[in-house]
Amino acid sequence: MGRLTDRYCIVGVGETEYSQASGRTTRAMAVEAVKRAMDDAGLNASDVDGMMSYHGGDSTTSTTVVSDLGIRLNFYMDCSGGGSSTEALIGLAIGAIEVGMCHTVAIFRSMNGYTQVRIGGTGARARAPITEAGVMTRPYGYMSAAQNFAFSFMRHMYEFGTKPSQVAMVKVVGSKHASNNPKAFMKKRMTVEDVLNSRWIVKPVHLLDCCLETDNATCVIVTSAERARSLKQRPVHILGVAGRVCKPRIEVHYQFGPITRVAGYHAKDIVFPMAGVTHEDIDVTSCYDAFTWTTLLQLEDYGWCKKGEGGDYVSSGIIALGGKRPNNTSGSHLCEAYTHGMNMVIENVRQLRGTVDDYCPNWQKGQHTYDYSEGHCRQVKDAEIAMSMGWGTPALGSALIMRR
């Protein structure tokens, strides 16, 4: 194992309901998610002294949340960012604890991603006057995440012969997992035909290739392994982290080829050596699914299969529950909720604890049936090591490896 072994842990996780009608402020949701994570860990207000958050559009501040919850901070940091921030902030929290700035850090993301600032880009953002970098792109009707990322996948199909029916399997598998997740916003099992027949957003992207837009807040709490030992849950140890690793010329990454290569190509060289594990050691993964093919591109560049073979890989059964290495077992962004990455980490923490909240009658005691048919189990048996692969853009990624 690597240099972080047994030093830092995630001790609490929490989230609000995943919905498209929160009817609440991002402040109220953030407070609930942080409180739930504290309760999960068995931490009181006086036990938390650090807070971090990220935002793109709507959120609330750490200072608001701690004022509401009566927490006195020794450190806080709110920064801009979307996907790939969760893992990066976990790394920064370790750094803050390591140098003695604080000892226990709650990290949250709160967003009304459907009712307030729609993640797909429609609404107020699409009507704002155009300045700065947008002057070179928005007059061409090129603005949303789907529009910004699609060139990479189109080029992947051109270079490697990848088919939409192959990449649709990422949604099919995600929906299978979500059907065993009571929290998931979209629990219906989907077929390849469902994806290919769903309406177009921007060709090559169908509606069902896109993640959900939801209202929710999420939180994870990081502390030292020493403190973790006296808390409520089985500690989940952090082995390796790579935060906001970039491709060259990130803002115009399509100038620098191959444009089918994503930032995970570089992040893997940081996170695996730090963790001191190999791909074969990892039992369960989560891989950012802003779109079906963001998962496919990342799985290739992190080295789970050869470049260009992602279509076969995601269709092989390996990434499904019951397969060799299940991926996105909660249904993730495509089916559970869109959280800018944090629900992927929360799910992996629960997998490693052995207490995934599925439909098994005694899941809270860690008793699972391992029956992955619809409406039953989603616990991976004996999961010891998990990896999350966060995505911000094709040119921006983060990663996190944890063990139980």
């Binding site: 797909g120 880009g121 429609t122 699409a126 009507r127 006057p129 155009i130 300045t131 700065e132 970098a133 002057v135 070179m136 792109t137 928005r138 007059p139 061409y140 009707g141 090129y142 603005m143 949303s144 529009q147 699609a150 060139f151 990479s152 189109m154 080029r155 199909m157 051109y158 088919k163 939409p164 029916s165 290919l196 309406r199 177009w200 957003i201 921007v202 060709k203 090559p204 992207v205 060259p248 010329r249 115009v252 399509y254 100038q255 620098f256 080829g257 191959p258 444009i259």
Partner: protein, 169 residues
């Protein structure tokens, strides 16, 4: 004078201090497509900015380019995000690689611009005519008094490499 104009209901502002982008559009107003050329290493670059990403020189000049290129990747927007584009769907957006600097400074690099592919009347080119590998050339769409937006249309030149089009299978 700052440039400010409306296009498809969107207000586009180019203040004087946004020097590089404003000059790009001032050249477009004379129906010239320009990119920056580094005075240190002579490489061309897009989009407009203050430094050379290869040699870090802050010295540059404008270089007019032929406006000819090849579609490197593309997409067809069918669900408009910006309200002003709702009556324009389906429309292609393309990543066009200019002829001037293909495969430089490394084999996978080139000068690539984001653009629409339009027909002779500046309407969106039909999807069946757009594909990776197709040859294109610049045209200038009049959008306001003294303001032109660089766009690309299909060229009459034969493709020199494999042409590929998306299929929903």
């Amino acid at each position: 004078m700052p440039m400010s104009f409306e296009y498809r209901g969107m207000l586009i502002n180019l203040p004087d201090f946004d020097r590089e982008r404003k000059e790009y559009f001032e050249h477009a107003a004379q129906k010239k497509l320009v990119v920056q050329k580094c005075k240190g290493c002579a490489l061309l670059r897009w989009d407009p900015g203050p430094a050379c990403p290869w040699c870090q020189s802050l010295e540059w000049t404008w270089q007019q380019v032929s406006g000819k290129g090849t579609i490197y990747s593309y997409e067809i927007v069918t669900h408009a995000i910006q309200p002003g584009f709702r009556d324009w769907v389906p429309y292609p957006v393309a990543l066009v690689e200019l002829d001037e600097q293909r495969g430089k400074p490394s084999p996978d690099e080139g000068v690539r611009l984001i653009t629409n592919v339009v027909d002779e009347n500046f309407n969106p080119e039909k999807e069946e005519n757009v594909g990776i590998g197709k040859r294109v050339e610049v045209v200038f769409l009049p959008v306001a008094e003294g303001v032109f937006l660089p766009q690309f249309k299909l060229s009459k030149e034969q493709p020199t490499e494999r042409v590929w089009q998306f299929q929903n299978v």
